[in-house]
Symmetry: none
Subunit: 160 residues, 2 copies
């Protein structure tokens, strides 16, 4: 069943990945700006439940970050987020180049990372483009097929 809490925590993960958030008050404000009326207490509890951590950056500033924990998010949901924002997908030698809706590349790349697809060595995202490195030319081609399938397979309404 999809609860309000699920939606809220999903948004928290999205915001944490897309913004440099350094306090829970900041996150609380961002959440409000995105239609979730919550308090700092709830942020604290959600952050704890989600295992989100606060990291210190090289410049000694800090931000919240979602650790790459295999299987912490339902795959169906990831696919959803991912497929919804893709525009096109092509390969160039061993690289896969994905075009997304403006501003969605970061989210798409991190969704892609979380899927742990075979052949994905690493991803880098700009604003509307994602570069994916594959081990070789063949694998890049296979990846394109896989991703194309996701795009066309449509977004089922299957919930988690």
């Amino acid at each position: 069943m999809r609860t309000a809490k699920n939606d809220r925590q999903e948004m928290i993960i999205k915001l944490v990945k897309e913004h440099e958030i350094s306090t829970q008050d900041e996150l609380t404000s961002l959440m409000k700006a995105n239609g979730f009326a919550i308090t700092q207490a709830t942020c604290s509890r959600d952050i704890k439940e989600l295992g989100i951590i606060k990291v210190t950056l090289p410049n000694q500033a800090s931000k919240y970050a979602v650790l790459d924990r295999t299987g912490d998010i339902a795959p169906g949901r990831l696919l959803n987020v991912f497929a919804n924002s893709l525009i096109s997908c092509k390969s160039a030698m061993n690289m896969v180049v994905i075009k997304t809706l403006p501003g969605m590349a970061q989210a798409a790349a991190s969704a892609l990372d979380s899927m742990h697809l075979q052949y994905v060595v690493g991803t880098i995202a700009g604003d509307d483009t994602v570069f994916v490195a594959a081990p070789g030319v063949e694998e890049a081609g296979a990846l394109v097929s896989t991703i194309d399938d996701m795009m066309s397979a449509g977004i089922s309404s299957s919930e988690d």
Copy 2:
């Protein structure tokens, strides 16, 4: 040069690895028990400098942690924050893909740039991933070896 601060921070890392420490006051006490008379303020500053994070365990308790990564730091070596922020390094054709702790990729890339390593044609960094372009497949493989060495030994050339 070996300073008192070096010794202290090394002991902090040791204690954090060996105990389940959940507050800085706890760490402060442990440090005192080990012959380092410090205050919570100093613990806070050291933890920040060392990039030590607080993680939430599956049982919802929390503790400080030095994140695990491939390769241990040689005993007696001075801690190097840069080497310590690298998680993995693989090649994909002529590209080297480096994974770092969240938020560290930019710094890692620029550090890499300033090293002027042989074969590095260029780098681009996201949040936790760096792509390094090498002239060819062979050279990318060599670069991976070089970087792997740094990860396991720390870069002592001009540090601390």
